[in-house]
Symmetry: C2
Subunit: 153 residues, 2 copies
Amino acid sequence: MKLKLIIALALGAVTTAAVAGDVEDQIRFRQSAYSFLGWNTAKIKAQAADHPETFNKDQVIAAANAVAAVANSGLLSLYGPGTDKGTGWKATRLKPEFFEKQDEVKEIEATFIKEANELQKVAANGDAAEVKAQFGKVGATCKSCHDLIRVRE
Amino acid sequence: MKLKLIIALALGAVTTAAVAGDVEDQIRFRQSAYSFLGWNTAKIKAQAADHPETFNKDQVIAAANAVAAVANSGLLSLYGPGTDKGTGWKATRLKPEFFEKQDEVKEIEATFIKEANELQKVAANGDAAEVKAQFGKVGATCKSCHDLIRVRE
């Protein structure tokens, strides 16, 4: 590997860490990302599943874009050492086991990204039933991660 | 207007309001959206402006997609009556004048969406200098809204 590239990658890692911030910043940013995600998934659920008579293609596309944007935002950079304890907007619910389950976590993240990107494509077609079906697959990836590394409330 | 369409629109408005939630939910969702936005703009600022040697095209594209997704998410549905007072994750900083300045607010939102969509396009080209220039335009729309309707800290 060329020295210049090594330095650039090292600086990149430092910059990413600096942007993610300290433990409380990381927790607050990820809580914000998931809350923004939750608002947008609630819009899709309402329009594609619970009240299909209110289905609005443009709003569902915008919400699906938001879900995909969160999925692809590099969330795992907000799970630095020590972030299983601490308070962002509120106390984190991350289990300490998170750090020992990196293979499973990364696999779930990859699936989340794949299914969210697919939701974005399906939403563009404007078919409520297709959106509902794909939305179910995205929700399943959320649940798989919650079951693995989030403390139950 | 056909009755069916009127009913669908009315239901849509009800559904949107229900998803946005009560005053505290609306404030929390918008604080989350802006915090998620802030994390992503910080990534772009770090890579395109402050440390261009760390510029990573894929990360900047992902961050620009996130900025555009927030801009297009229908943020104004989170500014219902009474949301100039109350606490989401923290006390809101929205000025009561917000409700009397709807023309200016909607104009700023339209500009924010336009500039964020343009940032998304520019990011796809992968030119750090172009990203930095367009990022400045997005930042200017943020500031114009803060100056208009947000209490200074």
